[in-house]
Amino acid sequence: MEYGLILEWIIKAVLMLLILLIGFAYTTYLERKVLARMQVRYGPNRAGPKGLLQPVADGVKLIFKEELIPAKADKLLFILAPVITVLPALTILAVVPFGGTVNLFGREITLSIAGDLNVGILYLTAVTSITVYGMVLAGWASNNKYAMMGGIRATAQVISYELALGLAFIGPILLASSMSVNEIVNAQGRMGWFFIYQPIGFIIFLIATLAEINRVPFDMPEAEQELVAGYHTEYSGMKFALFMMTEYIKMIVVAVLAATFFLGGYLGPFVDQVPWLGPVYLFIKVFILVFGIIWVRATWPRFRYDRLMAFGWKIMLPLAVLNVLLTGAFIILFPGVIR
């Protein structure tokens, strides 16, 4: 094994973590500012110019907070649950390309950790399917009825919407005839962005991912009017911060995935000549999508729980199956489109 290669991987992994952590901090700031604007308030404006240092102040405050563990809680799982929650969110983007190949210090470097993995999409579904453990275990280990209800709701919701999400992946797979995320982006370079071919799939993907990350209007696991704060009711200090971190990192992650599968990923004008434009284009697309997620939060009320389940099973799932069928028929009828 070449040592340079190992070094390259380590640098990429550390960079990825740093980007996600900084992204987390400033997504919270963005959300508070945008929500405030939409509700005719100012939002954070005291720490630093225009409140730009607010995330830092929040982080310092949370580090110095006292950490409480309920007396009857299951200590081991109570401490492990935040860690189990944050790990999938940090590792899931390993298969997503952030750009093409760039030349740096005389080395050809691809801007992704494992973009060419031929089971890339399966990796994504595997990691999304285990994200729910952290929430369930946090709810159970707290030994609190509200936390428990939040955990149980999280399980039912994530399992229900995972099916539609998995089926929404199939459209891009069929069009690119590959499970490698890199190949899916390249295919969009040849045939145009996939949301043109996959309007239903794109909408299903957006709705299902909103439900997977428990954002409004699908934030049943932590509905504050019913469940205090849901599965993280008993958490404080850095453990609470880890849950918050997961929520915001997941927002970024689903925006990156939606951009990669349906909006051309890092592709854009002149990206062939100047490969460093790739991450810039991806950032712009992700920013727009994250803004959209925040906008949805400011606009829509929460689903009722039974409606949420009925919507997932009776509308989303049949539509997703129909979309797979239509995509298959489309590919057979117009074989010239696939390039």
Partner: protein
């Protein structure tokens, strides 16, 4: 070769320990979590054997879907703590006897009648990729694949019929 061996031994230790933990734990939640860990380790073993598709399917289906449902049921019914002693006393004796039989059989095969497995040829190395599996599944094994899907559908309909609400009969 040596790093592979070290990795394999570590994984094997984790797999066996988590399997034992799943059997011996008195808390149903810890049992379930041990089983999840076991599934994860087995998935990594599949990866080492060059079968990425089956490895990730294992995590998605078993660790991600089935075990989440198990945890859901355990928590919903509130049966986290198992009672002392077994409900079926004869089961333990039977389990010990059959376990010993299996152990004896394995020992017999390994030590007394050693068999050599056929060497994997380099052309077969791509057998675990999604493309190869799909090709085999939809050509050679199409009928078994379809039959399995029908079987699962029947099980699903059965579950819906068993749990479905019935109209009260007193209406007539």
């Amino acid at each position: 070769m040596i790093p592979d061996m070290i990795l394999f031994i570590l994984l094997a230790i984790v797999a066996v320990t988590s399997a034992l933990g799943m059997l011996l734990s008195r808390s149903a939640v810890y049992s379930a979590l041990n089983l999840v860990l076991n599934f994860g380790t087995v998935a990594v073993l599949y990866l080492l054997l060059g079968a990425p598709f089956i490895a990730l399917a294992q995590i998605t289906v078993y660790a991600g879907a089935i075990m989440v449902l198990f945890l859901f049921v355990i928590m919903l019914l509130g049966v986290e703590q198992l009672r002392k002693g077994s409900a079926l006393p004869w089961q333990q004796t039977l389990a010990i006897i059959s376990g010993l039989l299996l152990l004896a059989l394995t020992a017999y095969v390994i030590f007394i009648r050693p068999m050599t497995l056929p060497q994997v040829s380099p052309t077969q190395l791509g057998f675990g990729t999604p493309g190869a599996i799909g090709e085999i599944l939809f050509n050679k094994y199409l009928l078994p694949f379809e039959v399995t899907s029908v079987l699962l559908l029947v099980a699903m309909i059965g579950a819906i019929v068993l749990t479905g609400k019935r109209e009260p009969k007193t209406k007539t």
